[in-house]
Symmetry: C3
Subunit: 230 residues, 3 copies
Amino acid sequence: MLQILEELIWGICLGNLGAKMLLTTLYIIGITAEGMTGALAAGRHNMDWFGVIFIACVTAIGGGSIRDVLFGHYPLTWVAHPEYLAIICIAAILTTKIPYFVERFERTFLVLDALGLAVFSVIGARVGLELHPSGAMAVAGAVITGVFGGILRDIFCARIPLVFQKELYASISLLTGSLYVILEFVSQKDYWILSENFIIMVALFVGFVARLIAIRYHLGLPTFKYTPKS
Amino acid sequence: MLQILEELIWGICLGNLGAKMLLTTLYIIGITAEGMTGALAAGRHNMDWFGVIFIACVTAIGGGSIRDVLFGHYPLTWVAHPEYLAIICIAAILTTKIPYFVERFERTFLVLDALGLAVFSVIGARVGLELHPSGAMAVAGAVITGVFGGILRDIFCARIPLVFQKELYASISLLTGSLYVILEFVSQKDYWILSENFIIMVALFVGFVARLIAIRYHLGLPTFKYTPKS
Amino acid sequence: MLQILEELIWGICLGNLGAKMLLTTLYIIGITAEGMTGALAAGRHNMDWFGVIFIACVTAIGGGSIRDVLFGHYPLTWVAHPEYLAIICIAAILTTKIPYFVERFERTFLVLDALGLAVFSVIGARVGLELHPSGAMAVAGAVITGVFGGILRDIFCARIPLVFQKELYASISLLTGSLYVILEFVSQKDYWILSENFIIMVALFVGFVARLIAIRYHLGLPTFKYTPKS
């Protein structure tokens, strides 16, 4: 019964398109959007074209690179697929030509960024799951992939990373990664078999919607303010 | 004769507890203390819980991670033992609840930090010793493991690393690592065989005491001040 | 005919000295010069000797280390050759003794830095060429090796990397790396066989001269200034 339901949802959403192909498509959309926001950040610091391209690349693929380096997961995505680097470079240079046009679509970029966050988290969870049977590294991989691009962007612009102070962001990665792991574990039991495709779709969807809700209602984690007495 | 003396000292200190078990115990104490001081640093910059946990993790396990990545020593400690991550997260969140209680024990934390420095240095030296017969990488490994956590903490808080300007710190790592290597080399000669346990204990003890002396007497390296004339 | 011409140029330039030996020699000159400029940067921030040595090492070998870590190319150069670390440390400490003497030779250092940039780029291109048949990683490897040392130096001094805002620098790496790759590809065709030595020499020479021209005429990339309207 559930199998049929799943097939149905799946069929409606995607037809014959596989979830991994969807993941790759959304990944490319994600790195393009991240690259463009990275380029805008570089422009705010009056960088030259190399700075713009560097910050764009770091924002878009820095998270995945840090994950792969920490996990010893070689080759890195952009080493195996240099075409991703080319896409980011083009997106970055394009942004320098039409910054205010990009700015006008700020909302669209928030949505694309939310999509990117969900996609990066799912990809990170998949890479991390192989490393430790507990699934802890899947969650760590999701968070690292999701947030480290933005952290590096801010470090290379010499400021405290925004992600340490704004609405739920890393938490969404954690949620997405955890959900992916739980569904994977559940589906390994005999009584409830979920296809990999279905799990990816659910994790993506929940992460994406959760991020949109966090933006809409300004949901954030508690802040820790500490001023030394001495 | 020396063997007997060694056995004696060993027996008094530890009974049947092995030095490697001691190393692991002290390592856990070390990362907990480092995690708590990292959390305080995050609080000084008004970060949210994710920032607090991130800075705590980076401070506690950043040095070892950089060492392992540079040395190609996979898997990283926290990838193989996610429970260490959990300990640091708990210590970090606990710190946000009782910051002024932690602050009152500032001296205790200085001592724990000194202990952590010695432990990290010995562990780093052990990892590095396999890489190059000269022992140079053991010393490099000791320094990287000992100081890089603090360096990363400060970089992610967007300030110049404290360790470049305060009392002897990296030098203690260098001393501890060098001592470990010298004792290892000495014990490979036939005329003076030291057990691995004994070597670890001596290096730990000397590093720990040297750091306490450096704090007590404000011992520091010479500073290099340079103002361009042109 | 061309073979003979090549042999001739080669013989004039180097006699029996091989290009790889030349590359190693220039590499050592390059890391020494980079280490000294790194030490001056540390002095501008009143760092102690450890800070000076750390910034010197990061400036000199940081680019190659990042490249090797991203490419999974182990062991790192300085792990296999700790003597390079020793050279940089000596150069750094020496600089703290005679900073104004070093400053007086600013022009010499600009030339040595240009040489270093060309050498690092060629070495990076050679490492990257094995990773992807398209040669894209050779170009990426050239740029990463050439500029990341300076980027890390500035990050550890908590300021926006200079290389994002000054005259052509990363572009020279890109040019050098691209030229190396093109010559390699050309020489794989049957009708025009170039020796590896010749290719290295040409790429080195063009990169070096191009950098000097960029300094002389203040050639830079277009800058992207962006001020958010909202």
